[in-house]
Symmetry: C2
């Protein structure tokens, strides 16, 4: 599909794309750029890139596809630095969990003749860094493209083929709608997971040792996503403020109703809600987005 693919940022997602691109032969050369010397050294040791460098201009020169795999808040600075080194006809893309902000940050710096197709592969684990990546990360996961209304359709189709080659299902939507959908399916879930873990850690009547011992009652599930990369998630909340606050408002409204039901002892309201939520999981499982093994198939 591409002669030269450049990945900027060798974290979980960037290193997974590099590994998958190599495995699926979608690029002749895979160049990895990272601003951290140690990460570049590690990428060389791991051997999943044709070339690894800290020099972003050098890394993107002559590339057909450049994918920004950096925290959302770093996109502007990367775009500014690389803009004059991009070749005419190159495609720039990204993997950010927020799309409107990335479009605002990157678009002004892209030279005439460079195409921009924002993307978000909805996949990941709680681990970070170049060692955490693996080539099957995108298998059967969805990748959302948010091209602008006037984007070149052939270029958008090429990006679709790229993600399909990596095993993904691809959907396109407007950046603004993406940010709203992800606020409820990803950002607010992360926020409440981070929040409950912090609440539990700060109690004075319950010790941290008790929280840890008895975490199998449900709490431990939340610690997984609350162990995700802090820089990435700080940037998500700073850059998708409006949609996150809207969805958080909904969550709070609903929890007030539930709180009231508990306070007044309305068992029927609780039972009805707890029954309704069961079917959502069954749908997620039947759509291939979740394992049907009990307890996520956790090893005991």
């Amino acid at each position: 599909l591409f002669e030269r693919l450049t990945i900027v940022g060798a974290g979980l997602i960037g290193s997974s794309i590099a590994r998958a691109a190599r495995q699926q032969n979608v690029a002749t050369a895979v160049i990895v750029v990272d601003n951290d010397d140690k990460v570049v050294d590690r990428v060389k040791e791991l051997g999943f890139a044709s070339q690894a460098t800290t020099d972003i201009k050098d890394g993107v020169t002559d590339s057909d596809l450049v994918i920004l795999c950096v925290p959302v808040g770093a996109c502007k600075s990367v775009a500014k630095t690389m803009k004059n080194a991009l070749k005419r006809g190159a495609i720039v893309s990204d993997v950010g969990s927020v799309k409107c902000s990335v479009v605002e940050q990157v678009s002004p710096y892209l030279p005439e003749g460079v195409h921009f197709v924002p993307a978000h592969p909805v996949a990941g684990t709680e681990h970070s860094g170049p060692d955490a990546g693996f080539p099957s990360l995108f298998n059967n996961r969805w990748c959302i493209l948010t091209p602008s209304a006037d984007a070149n359709q052939a270029i958008v189709e090429k990006m679709r083929s790229f993600w399909e080659a990596l095993g993904s299902n691809v959907e396109t939507m407007e950046a603004q709608h993406h940010d709203l959908v992800l606020a409820i399916t990803s950002h607010v879930p992360h926020l409440i997971a981070y929040n409950i873990v912090a609440t539990a850690a700060d109690l004075e009547k319950v010790t941290q040792s008790e929280v840890i011992k008895f975490s199998a009652g449900g709490f431990r599930d939340f610690t997984r996503i609350a162990a995700s990369d802090p820089t990435m998630w700080r940037d998500v909340f700073l850059h998708n403020k409006e949609a996150v606050l809207e969805m958080l408002g909904r969550f709070n409204e609903d929890i007030s109703v539930l709180t009231r039901a508990i306070r007044v002892g309305d068992g029927d309201a609780l039972f009805d809600l707890f029954t309704r939520t069961r079917s959502i999981r069954r749908n997620i499982i039947s759509h291939g987005q979740e394992t049907d093994e009990p307890d996520f198939g956790r090893k005991r």
Copy 2:
């Protein structure tokens, strides 16, 4: 350890105890009682009980240990029904996720000479019913005993041995403290999981199909515990109202602070909190209460 063990209620927990008791040879006979004909028939087919019946009085007669494995709200009615059939010297226990309420419900009905040792094995999956149980459910999980201050110590030790034989670690604490600890490690986590799943299902700007497709962004994690048994969880909230409302108050306080940090763009506050929560998971893993595989070791 026991001649006759009677399990009242053949759900996930009851059927797992029966299977484990048989496997570990901790009782000569394992009698299973359930008020549902179909469940009793299914228990007979599955073959993990020496005897299965809908007649509770018959089921507890001559038993040395009777364990109530019914929803918390059903304990009083079970205690009333069985009280005259209990043999002198018998131990009555339970597996309820709430302890103060169970003590209040059961104690008044226990005849002189019958011992009561409330228990809560902190273990489970999102599945329910006699088919969902398995004998290793309690392996390396904690079981909390909440005997009263004047309980017979030899009897408490016998219950400790019972749970240790089933693979559990055992801790004793006061019922009231148990209810507070579990409110934060189990009950409030379930409540916010049920709540976010319902919030997502009810949005008009985001379709349910979008919620399902993009659930791998974090949302799907919450659907697991939000698929737990509705009757059991209705009863937990109705019977641990005070502690749940207290812990929910803390959660809400903390989420208000986080919401403010997002609104004013306080990236440092977000970053600090997201860093702090990471270490809790590492502790849970090192204490053997969670897998160290990324993504719970989910099959992709």
